[in-house]
């Protein structure tokens, strides 16, 4: 059974690039346009991995990850932060929120797939 990955990004083109890479590798993908939208998608369904932007309207990526980790069933869901942010302080915040990896845009799709494969068994 294919693993399911939640992509959270307010940029539709970024979601498109990530989704293409992941579906091409056999993953199932759910999309959310911001942190608030992503929380609404965590309705008990099994999510194997989350790839989230940091700067988003309504609820940013760090806040979303913090809230997600409070939800039953999602405490141990691995998170990759995919962002334009490269400041050490932001990375520290992401790590403290529970992220497992930090990817600065632009990214190579193959690089992203390698990171995903490292965090979940394909």
């Amino acid at each position: 059974m294919a693993k399911t990955i939640l992509i959270v990004d307010d940029s539709a083109s970024i979601r498109m690039v990530v989704k293409t890479a992941l579906t091409g590798a056999g993953y199932e993908v759910i999309e959310a346009a911001d942190g608030q939208d992503a929380l609404a998608k965590l309705d008990g369904r099994k999510i194997n991995l989350v790839i989230s932007d940091v700067n988003m309207p309504r609820l940013d990526g760090i806040g979303f990850v913090r809230q997600m980790k409070q939800k039953p069933g999602y405490q141990f869901t691995p998170v990759i932060m995919l962002t334009t942010e490269s400041e050490a302080d932001k990375m520290r915040q992401g790590k403290e929120a529970g992220a497992k990896a930090w990817v600065v845009k632009p990214f190579q799709p193959a690089q992203m797939l390698a990171a995903v494969a490292k965090l979940i068994q394909p």
């Binding site: 083109s13 091409g24 962002t83 930090w102 845009k105 632009p106 390698a114």
Partner: protein, 368 residues
């Protein structure tokens, strides 16, 4: 002063889009001219990269006019910038979707090509050659078996000769029996009344010998017919075998020619197929490269958003009349607040006075 600073910062931040650069440059020029005119001075005060004025502001511009200009110009800038941001996002999302679709199609085509190319054309041809040669070998074996059958039939011709001599012997015996029966009839007639019964027996023997002679003759005729038929059959079979051997040789030669032609075409096909796979792989990588570059939209979108926020802040600042009492500390605080909104390394570099840097290249992933 603040107006000019914000426009200059926005100009630096706008980076990639010529439309934004022109828009903001015109705005900055307009404001600088306005301030120079209002101050009655030939030059605007110098400003350091971090926004602190080189000397205390001594301007007393026509603030009412400036407020009027800002009140009309700044919202217009925001709308233009928003239009740029939205148009760029829509266009690049469509472009990303197109290239993503191409990437998927290319990947699927390459996978299908690799699956079909699992058995190469030359391997298929080798298999065909082996199977066709096996068919030819089977046909030759059949011809050989029929030749053996014909040899057996030829030997039957010899048997027919034996049967012919046996039939001749039967005819000879019948002739001699007839002669004996005739002599017995003569002797029975000479014996008179006593030999009458023997004369009847002799007559019957003579009749049987005549029938035996006829049977011998029929056997000879039949054996002759069979012998001729066998000889004709063997001759026909030999002619047929000769023709079939010729056909087999011709077929084998044609199979060889056809396979050679296929082999040449197959080699060309295989080279073309390999070239196609190589080109497809290269194009796939180039599409992936395009998809990487298209991600600049996200960075540009964020930079534009920050500029728009700052313009809105300036609009509010001027509308409230706060600029009338703005000090060098206020300018510094403004610049710090702007810096706190940055999300890209380019924004931080520009803020620190660096020349407009190129967009970042893909970086390594940091694992926690």
């Amino acid at each position: 002063m603040l107006f000019g600073l914000s426009a200059a910062a926005a100009l630096q931040l706008s980076g990639g889009s010529p439309y934004i650069v022109i828009l903001l440059a015109l705005g900055g020029l307009c404001c600088a001219t306005w301030l120079r005119h209002a101050a009655g001075s030939g030059s605007a005060p110098a400003v350091s990269p971090d926004g602190a004025p080189a000397q205390a502001p001594s301007l007393q511009p026509d603030v009412d006019g400036l407020e009027l200009l800002c009140g009309r110009l700044l919202p217009l800038w925001q709308k233009h910038l928003d239009a740029v941001r939205m148009q760029m996002e829509e266009a690049l999302t469509a472009l990303s979707a197109t290239f993503a679709g191409l990437s998927v199609q290319m990947s699927q085509a390459l996978q299908a090509s690799s699956a079909e190319g699992g058995e190469s054309v030359s391997a298929v041809l080798d298999d065909c050659r082996n199977q066709l040669h096996a068919v030819v070998a089977d046909l030759r074996a059949s011809l050989q078996a029929r030749a053996s059958l014909m040899d057996d039939i030829g030997r039957l011709s010899g048997v027919a000769g034996d049967l012919q001599s046996m039939a001749s012997e039967v005819g000879e015996i019948a002739s001699r029996t007839n002669l004996l029966a005739l002599n017995a009839s003569i002797e029975a007639a000479r014996a008179g009344e006593v030999g009458r019964g023997f004369a009847v027996v002799a007559d019957e023997v003579r009749k049987l010998s005549a029938q035996s002679a006829q049977s011998g003759q029929r056997i000879r005729d039949t054996v002759d017919t069979v012998g001729q038929a066998l000889a004709q059959t063997v001759a026909n079979a030999q002619q047929l075998a000769t023709r079939e051997h010729g056909h087999m040789d011709a077929a084998e030669q044609r199979i060889g020619l056809v396979l050679t032609r296929f082999e040449r075409s197959g080699d060309a096909l295989e080279r073309a197929s390999a070239q196609l796979r190589e080109d497809g792989s290269r194009i796939g990588h180039e599409i992936d490269h395009v998809l990487v570059h298209l991600q600049f939209q996200d960075r540009v979108g964020q930079i534009l958003a920050h500029v728009m926020q700052d313009i809105a802040k300036l609009e509010d600042f001027v509308a409230r009349g706060a600029h009338r009492e703005a000090s060098a500390d206020d300018v510094g605080a403004w610049m710090d607040a702007l810096a706190a909104t940055y999300s890209t390394a380019e924004q931080h570099a520009i803020h620190k006075g660096a020349a407009t840097p190129r967009a970042s290249a893909p970086t390594e992933i940091t694992f926690f």
